[in-house]
Structure formats: C-alpha cells, structure tokens
C-alpha cells in the first residue's frame, strides 16, 4: 500500500493554516479587527468576490483561463442597476445573469468548438464586453435610489444575505465538484483532456458548461456587488481581477488543471480581504495598502511557484536511498 505523501496534504491545507495565521496577526496588529462590526464588514466585502472565484476555480480546474470574468462582473452590475428602474430588481437580475451566461457560452464555444486558446478567446471577449459596458453607461456611474435593497444586503450582522449566499454557493459548488460525476469528470478532463475524451467523456459539452457557469457566476457576483452599493461603475470588476486569480491559485487549485478546491479558493479570498481589512483598520493609507496588497500577492504567488518547483525536482526520489 502506498500512502499519499505528506507533501500533498501540506499543499491542500496550507491555505487554511495561512488563513488562521493572518487572522491571528491582524487581531494583534489591529485592535478592533475581531469586533463583530468589523468581521461583519469583512465578511460582506469578501463575499462579493466569492462568486467569481468559484467560476474561476472551475475554469482553472479544466486547465483553461477565463480572463473576461472581471468585465462580465462589471456588465452584470451595470445591467442590474441600469434595468432596475424600468423592470424592477428581478427583471434586472435576470437580464444580468442571462448576459453573463450568454457570454460564458460564447467563450465556451470558442474554446471547445473553434479550439481557440482560452487566453485569446477570453481576451477578445473581455475587450468586447468592456466596450459594451462603456457604450451602455456612457462612461458614467449608474445609481438607483432603492435603499431598501441596500439596507437589506448591508445588515450589520455576521450572516448578512451576501455572506449567506456566498457560503451557500461555495458549499454547493464544492459538493458538485467533488461528489458528482460532473465535477469529477471536470477534474479528470483538466488533468488529461485526451484521456478524458478517450474514456468517452463529452469534453466539449463540459467545457462549454464550465465557461457558461463562469460567466453566470461572474455576472451574479457583479450584480450582487452593484445591489449592495446600489451603484455601478464602469471599472468595478477590475478590483476583483487580481484578488480572485491570486486567491484561486493560493487556495490550492492547480494551474495546470485537474485537482481543484473551491473551499480553498474561498478561504484564500477571505484571507486576502482580511489582510486589506486589518491594514486599513491600522490606519494605513490607500497607497500603502495598494503596495502591501501587491507585495502580499507577489509573495504568495512566488511561494506557490517555489513549492511547485521543488516538487518537480523531487519527483521520483527513492525513499530507500535517502540516507
């Protein structure tokens, strides 16, 4: 019997250890960090990035990239705010989600059927969507006056609706990913697409479905963010871009495709938001935080790369020769 080596376990749980570490550090560094008020705010902020992070995790598991998610978020937010006055919230949200789904389908089709590299395909769609957003809003911020929704979403409790939605989504999708045929087939396809095809898996349909989900979730995330702030700006999705990508990677999903973990991505999102939150409590200015953020991201991604590198070098070692 061969046991799963310690190295794997380390990689899988490293992010949770980091999360705990960050929380401890922040509570020491910033006195009010652990207060209910602050934690509620932190959780609400983090929850807005969770939905796109789930989408990105799924796409990365397939071995592909979806760089358009940030602009789709913006589009989702814009449509939600823009359509609400005339068609109410439900109509607006439905429209936003439908658009996100549609863009995702286009991405999926380009990658699966036209066999365009996903980096290129999503690069193209992101340009198109950003242009569309700018046309729609004329470069302006859109607002609505419905404070009811805002108040409902922005409750001061720890389990405000956005947080609940994020947690629910994360749990549901993690179950789907690890416990259903769809999820396992997805990871298998990411690990070795040719093998998956030869096993009879419908890899094209899988790819299209995953990209569609990513678009849908990105739009949902943007929509949620817009409703919470009851406004939408033309670049609102861009803040999520780096955070989501870094979080998904640090969370343990492999960049080559295959093994993926949504809970890990969510933990990493929370961790990164906690860092920003703690530092701003400490009174660090906007500029300082940006560079700290950048530095933290750099260190995390670097650490991941080093770890992966060392693992490659150590592949194939014989235990009996390790004197």
């Amino acid at each position: 019997m061969r046991k799963v080596l310690a190295g794997d376990a380390f990689r899988r749980y490293a992010v949770y250890a980091l999360l705990v570490l960050v929380f401890c550090t922040m509570s020491v560094v910033a006195p009010r960090f652990l207060s209910i008020d602050n934690q509620a705010a932190l959780l609400k902020t983090a929850s807005l990035h969770v939905l796109p992070a789930i989408g990105f995790t799924l796409v990365l598991a397939l071995g592909q990239l979806d760089l358009s998610f940030a602009t789709v978020m913006t589009l989702g937010g814009m449509l939600t705010i823009g359509i609400e006055p005339r068609h109410g919230w439900f109509g607006a949200i439905a429209a936003a989600l439908a658009c996100g789904l549609g863009i995702g389908l286009v991405n999926g089709f380009l990658v699966a059927r036209a066999r365009v590299n996903s980096f290129i395909a999503t690069l193209g769609t992101l340009t198109i969507v950003q242009g569309a957003v700018n046309i729609y809003c004329g470069g302006n911020t859109l607002n609505v006056d419905d404070y009811g929704v805002f108040q409902w979403l922005d409750q001061g409790t720890l389990i405000a609706p956005p947080v609940l939605m994020a947690v629910a989504a994360a749990v549901i999708f993690e179950l789907v990913l690890q416990r259903t045929r769809f999820g396992l087939n997805l990871q298998l396809t990411g690990g070795n697409p040719t093998a998956a095809w030869e096993c009879g898996l419908r890899t094209d349909a899988l790819t299209i479905a995953v990209f569609a989900l990513s678009g849908f979730l990105a739009a949902a995330g943007g929509s949620l963010a817009a409703m919470k702030n009851i406004s939408a700006t033309p670049k609102m999705g861009n803040e999520s871009l780096m955070l989501v990508i870094a979080a998904v990677i640090v969370g343990g999903t492999s960049m080559k495709g295959g093994k993926a973990t949504i809970l890990g991505s969510v933990a990493a999102v929370l961790m990164l938001c906690a860092i920003t939150n703690g530092l701003s409590l400490r009174g660090l200015g906007q500029e300082t935080m940006l560079i700290v953020n950048g530095a933290v991201l750099a260190i995390l991604v670097l650490a991941q790369a080093i770890a992966t590198n060392r693992r490659e070098l150590m592949k194939g070692r014989r235990a009996e020769l390790l004197d």
Binding site: L65, L110, A114, R115, V116, N117, F119, I120, A121, L123, G124, T125, L126, T127, I128, Q130, G131, A132, N134, I135, L241, M242, I245, A246, I249, M255, Q286, E287, T288, L290, I291, V292, N293, G294, A295, L297, A298, V301, L302, Q304, A305, I306, T308, N309, E312
Partner: protein, 323 residues
C-alpha cells in the same frame, strides 16, 4: 508513408498584410484624403507606441511564454520616473526611466525563468505590485514635467518631434522592428529562442541556457515598454499610474494577429508590424466613419477573435496544431 509538408517561412506573417491592404482600401473609400502621405503617417504614428510595446511582447510570446501583462505598469513606471528625474537633464532622465522599467523586466525574467511561474499570473502580479509601488512612491501618483527647465521643455515636445518630416516615434518603431527582426532571424540568440519557443524542454536538453533566454525576453519586453512609456508620458505631458492602461491586451492582440502564435517559435517582427498596422487602420477607418471609441473596442475584439479563430482552424486543417 510519404508525408510531405513543407514550411514556407515567407508565408508566415504575410497573411495579416492582406487584411492591412483591405483596410487601406476601406480607408480610401471612406475618405478621399486617406491615401495622402501625411494622413498615412498619422495613422502609423497613432499606433507607433503600441507597436513599440508590441515588439517587446512579441519576444515573450515567441518564447512560448504567452504574454507580458506587466507592460502597462512598466510604461507607467518608466514614464513617471523619467518625468521626476528631468531635473538631472533629459538624457539621464530617460536612462533612469528605462532602468526602472528594465528592473521590473529582470524580476519577471528571473521568477519565470528560474521558478517556472505561470507568466500570465506572475506578470499580472508584478503589474499590480508595480501600480501599487507607483501610487505609494509618488504622491498624487502623478508627476508633471516642469516646463521651466530646458529638459522639461525638450521632454514635452519629444513625442511630436519630427526628423526629416517623419515623426520620431515612427522612426523609433521602425528601428525597433528592424532590430527585433534582426535578432530573431540573424542571430544565434534568435535561433536558440526559436528552439526554446518550440519546445522549452527540448531546448534545455540541447544545452540551451533557457533560463537566460527567458530573462532576456522579459528584459527586452520591459525595455520596449519603457521606451514606449517615456514617449507616452511625453505625449500626455505627465507621468501617471494609469498611463499605459490597455496596452497589455492590445499589444498581445497585435502580436497574435501578426502571426506570432501563442505556442511559440513561430512568426516574425514583420508580421507583428502588420498586426500593429491592422489595428491602427481599423481605428482610423472606424473613426473616419464616425464610430465611437467604445464601439471600436467592440469591433477590435470581434475581429481579433475572428482572425485568430480562422487562422487556428486553417492551421489545423493543414495538420499543424499550434495556438
């Protein structure tokens, strides 16, 4: 089995020029004065900065490392460092600006070369870190060249300079394309680069210093971006953090349109020039026809996907499977 498939190098990259010709015709149709030398030069000047950045990114793509998404941050950094250093004279300021940019390139090259980090992710991280650095190190994240000093005065007109009637930026572009082409085709570095781009592993197993090659391409990319950034700052008469936004994706667009496939080892600088010209012509033709900037973005995105998708499809029909 008699398999014959010849490679016709002169054909690579030439495909984009058919699009260029089409666009020139479209332009001539749209406006009577389009074909005048001043007007054509103006079009080229509009995209000269994009072209300069694209020359650098082309090296990265050619090496099989997809793209350098830190280009906007490098442009901004070199611009702002240059502007802030004008008190020491124009030439020293330019050199400092370039040095700052190249420093980022060195970091990129080392991390991606030695740790084999994913280039897209890592350059996104350096971009974020770079932006943060600029915002933190320079108050207001902007710097204005003082027009009292001689250096300052020289700087602000730098962009508009003409040499024998040809805009300086166009000359710089031409020089960089020529130098880049020479490097690719006529030097041993270029031959090694081609091997590395075609297969990193094989290059490594042939004794090529792949880590050195990776370092070189990212330094080249940062160098080109720095030059572009300084000229861009001159155009805008200020150094700022947001200068250069959008150049990451558009330069990849130009590079890929120009026939340098993402798989690496294929294409050349003349093709990249074609890609750059195509983008410039699209913008001009659309502007002549009264299309708004946002709609132009949409058109560019659509065209990009169409062109890349079709060429990938055709390549696969012929039995090639890159990009």
């Amino acid at each position: 089995m008699t398999a014959r498939y010849r490679v016709a190098p002169w054909l690579e990259g030439a495909g984009i020029y058919s699009l260029v010709v089409l666009l020139v015709l479209a332009g001539a149709v749209s406006s009577p004065g389009f074909l005048r030398p001043e007007s054509l030069l103006g079009t080229v000047q509009n995209v000269s900065l994009l072209g300069i950045a694209a020359t650098g990114v082309a090296f990265v793509t050619y090496s099989g490392h997809y793209a350098d998404l830190s280009v906007p941050a490098v442009m901004a950094l070199s611009g702002i460092v240059c502007v802030s250093s004008l008190r020491w004279g124009l030439v020293p300021a330019i050199l400092l600006g370039v040095a700052a940019g190249v420093a980022v390139g060195i970091v990129n090259g080392l991390v991606i070369g030695r740790l084999r980090a994913n280039p897209i992710i890592w350059t996104l991280v350096t971009a974020a870190a770079g932006s943060g650095l600029i915002r933190w190190a320079f108050s207001n994240s902007q710097a204005y060249p003082s027009t009292d000093t001689a250096a300052g005065k020289a700087f602000v007109v730098l962009f508009g300079e003409k040499v024998a009637g040809v805009p300086l930026t166009v000359l710089v572009l031409a020089a960089m394309i020529a130098a880049g082409q020479f490097l690719l085709v006529k030097t041993k570095f270029g031959a090694r680069l081609k091997l590395t781009g075609s297969s990193y592993e094989v290059a490594r197993m042939t004794g090529v210093d792949t880590r050195g090659i990776v370092l070189a391409v990212f330094v080249l990319s940062a160098f080109a971006a720095s030059v572009g950034g300084i000229l861009l700052a001159s155009l805008n008469r200020l150094g700022a953090e947001y200068i250069g936004k959008g150049y990451d994706f558009t330069s990849v667009t130009a590079v890929v349109l120009g026939g340098v496939t993402l798989a690496g080892g294929r294409g050349n600088m003349l093709g990249v020039l074609g890609g750059v010209l195509a983008i410039g012509l699209i913008e001009t033709v659309l502007t002549l026809n009264g299309v708004s900037v946002d709609w132009q973005e949409v058109v560019k995105g659509v065209l990009f996907i169409v062109v890349v998708g079709t060429s990938a499809y055709l390549a696969r029909r012929q039995g090639r499977d890159d990009a």
